[in-house]
């Protein structure tokens, strides 16, 4: 863990009362700020909340929103809900994986339904939603992800 990350983690932990109920909140805050949960951070959380490291690890490794490894590049969320599945999300996912294998610096995360089924299949890059995507469009999306959100209509 880098020095600035350590500093951030310390600040976050200091803001929490030592109560097991707050474990997930605390871990999510660290995940949000640092991008993942470094091993040292888990140890610090365990000490602060007065919990065995094993308990902290069992929660940290359970949830999809938490990650024990740093993610590379842009995080691309792909919705794999039923509507998206039926409208070709698997092909979108395949295409993204192919791009990743060809050296595109992205981390692919799947979400089991974002509840924006009118836009299925949905891909989210840097908090921008792209709806009604298809494999051919994925390349363009990664290129223009900094611009405005979904333009296509249902």
């Amino acid at each position: 863990m880098r020095e600035e990350e350590l500093q951030k983690v310390k600040e976050i932990i200091a803001g929490y009362k030592p109560d097991q109920k707050l474990l997930l909140h605390c871990l999510k805050d660290i995940q949000h700020e640092v991008g993942y949960l470094p091993k040292e951070a888990l140890k610090m959380v365990a000490t602060h909340l007065g919990l065995p490291l094993s308990k902290v690890y069992s929660v940290a490794s359970f949830y999809r929103a938490l990650s024990l490894e740093a993610s590379a590049g842009d995080v691309v969320h792909v919705c794999t809900g039923t509507s998206c599945h039926c409208r070709g999300a698997e092909r979108v996912l395949e295409e993204l994986k192919a791009l990743q294998e060809n050296g595109k610096d992205i981390t692919i995360k799947t979400v089991n339904c974002m509840g924006t089924c009118a836009l299925a299949p949905v891909v989210v890059v840097r908090n921008k939603y792209f709806g009604l995507t298809n494999p051919g469009e994925v390349r363009d999306i990664l290129g223009r992800s900094t611009q405005d959100g979904p333009e296509k209509q249902g």
Partner: protein, 626 residues
């Protein structure tokens, strides 16, 4: 300023009503997730600016609201009192809306919702809205969810005040029992009975919990409720807490996806309710104290199971408990707890305000009241509707949903998420309630309804759910953890064309064991989608196994595509979409697929709006071998 008595509340409510009625015209801009991601905030800002610029602030106001329901025309705008609905509104359209509709009283046809090629400008004319009965969603899309005063002006907290000052806890529970309300999260347990056993249970502290985890893919009604009318949930929980004797409440919600509008809304609503003294110590001067905390999930489907959800709030891994431990006696922190779904909580104020009998007058004999459905998939109108229990599925798909897009046919409707099943097109006339869907090997679940057309392979859909559950299984009990691994292996084998008929028997045995031996309902219901496809679409399994053919064009190993000459108009879209460069043809002329290049991904097949690309039925080689 906290309100200290019933009189003070009533005066406050009157002020709210006065405040709301000051502006003649209200422009409701949908701020729900579907609209928000398509630029609703920009439209809202532009409308506000335009109204200010034209000096209309005195008579018109623009407010953000919860989900209007029709997500397929997002962002949507409703102009009241005329009741004009505009869809797909862009910032450029806002000046015209102010000029034509606000000042001129006319309608802009190109922004109207269209059905059967006819523009329907008014909400009351559109079947999607006209066929609804709104109880849980009574204020969603009507009020500004970020302003408690607006909610109070529309009747929020009146039922709570009635319960607190005019009813005993026993009377409240009786009223809820009379209403026949059953859990809206899917289990369908009678709410009145749950409350009664929690009231009886002994414990120094008691809790009420709102389950807003909504993990079923294709369901988004809880989020719409939490965002569009958080006060209905808070009010329901207040009534429930008073009835069972709880002082603390939790609203549990998921926030695993980016841009979660409902969390902002909930936070604001709880703060506002505290500010005016509807949450906190000695509410409205009585001995009743109650407060609500927000709890968040971290992306785990199993959190939707009540005992797992309670463990998650406690800061433990969300693993379910055996069913013989009742949450009403040993729930959150091992203390008596009532846990209900968002929609159930939102129904409670209506039941107390209008009477259990009024609620029970909707619906069927055993499934009373209304139900919110999230409709998505292949239908034209995607969105959220509330209808009386027992409404025929056909009405929801054809009338409300507007039928299937691109001239395709309904093949089935998936209901109940990963614990549910599929209802085939031949059974579209079944009434939607707990009992009838169960009879059809499906489930009502939390009201998610995904309409499937003929491009969805039922074997592949079963595999999808098995994989979903495999991914989400918490791993605590062996039948679920290991059973799903084996199930996945066998079903994928069938999708790859390597299955045998003996595999079907294996799956039946495995699923049967899981139904008996899994610890929680999610595990016990895990084989449901698979079994439902066995019941209704066994032909497709036979085709996959014996004929090496996937009629829906989804299982790559089992399909090849061709272009039908009579249907192709040479629009060229398939050529542009093909990632293998396997489709050839000049624009405007007949196209063809080079099978030596094609990898059967099916992109062109799903894309073609002329239905010119079809799955080729293979020579029945496997059958001939046999």
């Amino acid at each position: 300023m906290a309100l200290k008595s019933k009189d003070e509340f009533e005066r406050y409510a009157k002020d709210c009503i006065d405040k709301r009625s000051r502006k003649k015209i209200r422009i409701l801009v949908c701020h729900g997730q579907g609209c928000a991601v398509r630029g609703a905030q920009d439209v809202l800002d532009a409308l506000k600016n335009e109204i200010r610029a034209q000096g209309l602030d005195g008579e018109a106001e623009v407010i953000p609201t919860g989900c209007h329901g029709l997500c397929s025309i997002a962002p949507s705008v409703i102009i009241e009192p005329a009741g004009v609905l505009y869809g797909n509104v862009k910032v450029e359209d806002t000046k015209k809306i102010v000029d034509v509709t606000l000042k001129g009283g006319g309608v802009i046809e190109e922004l109207c919702f269209r059905q059967d090629d006819k523009a329907l400008p008014y909400v009351r004319e559109i079947p999607f809205f006209a066929s609804q009965t709104r109880i849980a969603l009574r204020n969603v899309g009507k009020i500004n969810p970020y302003e408690i005063d607006d909610a109070i002006a529309c009747g929020a907290y009146q039922a709570f005040v009635k319960a607190l000052f005019e009813m005993t806890p026993e009377k409240i529970i009786e009223e809820v029992s009379v209403s026949g309300l059953r859990g809206r999260g899917g289990a369908g347990f009678p709410t009145g009975r749950k409350w009664a056993s929690c009231r009886k249970a002994k414990g120094e502290r008691k809790f009420v919990v709102c389950n807003g985890d909504e993990g079923d893919p294709g369901a988004f009604k809880d989020r719409a409720l939490m965002h569009g009318d958080p006060h209905a949930i808070i009010e329901g929980m207040l009534i429930g807490a008073y009835a069972v004797g709880a002082k603390e409440g939790f609203i549990f919600t998921r926030d695993e996806y980016p841009l979660a509008v409902h969390i902002f809304s909930l936070k604001k609503a709880i703060e506002d309710a505290r500010r005016i003294g509807l949450l906190g110590e000695r509410i409205l001067g009585t001995d009743f104290s109650f407060d609500i905390e927000l709890a968040f999930g971290g992306g785990a489907y199993v959190c939707g199971e009540s005992s797992a959800l309670m463990r998650s709030i406690e800061g433990k891994p969300p693993e379910p408990r055996a069913k013989y431990i009742h949450g009403t006696e040993k729930g959150l922190f091992d203390l008596p707890t009532v846990l209900n779904n968002c929609e159930s909580w939102a129904d409670v104020p209506f039941i107390i305000g209008k009477g259990g009998k009024v609620f029970a007058s909707f619906g069927t004999e055993k499934s009373k009241g209304t139900k919110v459905f999230s409709i998505s998939g292949a239908v034209k109108n995607i969105g959220l509707v509330e209808m009386p229990m027992g409404v025929p599925l056909r009405k929801v798909v054809m009338e409300v949903g507007g039928g299937v897009r691109n001239g395709r046919k309904v093949k089935a409707v998936q209901t109940g998420g990963p614990s549910g099943g599929v209802v085939p097109a031949s059974m579209l006339d079944i009434p939607l309630d707990f009992e009838n869907l169960q009879l059809a090997s499906s489930a009502l679940g939390s009201g998610g309804m995904i309409v499937l057309d003929d491009t969805t392979c039922m074997v592949s859909l079963a595999l999808y759910f098995v994989r979903f559950l495999l991914d989400e299984s918490c791993g605590k009990c062996t039948p679920c953890r290991e059973g799903l691994v084996q199930m996945e292996k066998i079903v994928s084998r069938i999708c790859e064309g390597k299955g045998t008929m003996a595999d079907i028997e294996k799956l039946k045995g495995l699923g049967g064991a899981m139904k008996l031996a899994c610890l929680c309902d999610l595990g016990r219901s895990a084989p449901n989608p698979l079994f439902a496809t066995f019941t209704h679409f066994f032909d497709e399994y036979v085709e996959h196994i014996q004929h090496g053919f996937c009629r829906a064009g989804q299982c790559r190993a089992l399909c090849s595509f061709k272009i039908v000459e009579a249907m192709c108009d040479g629009c060229h879209e398939c050529v542009e979409s093909c990632h293998k460069g396997a489709v050839f043809g000049e624009k405007g002329k007949l196209h063809y697929i080079d099978k030596t290049l094609c990898d059967s991904c099916g992109d062109c097949f799903r894309l073609c709006t002329r239905n010119a690309i079809v799955v080729e039925k293979p020579v029945l080689k496997k059958a001939m071998e046999a």
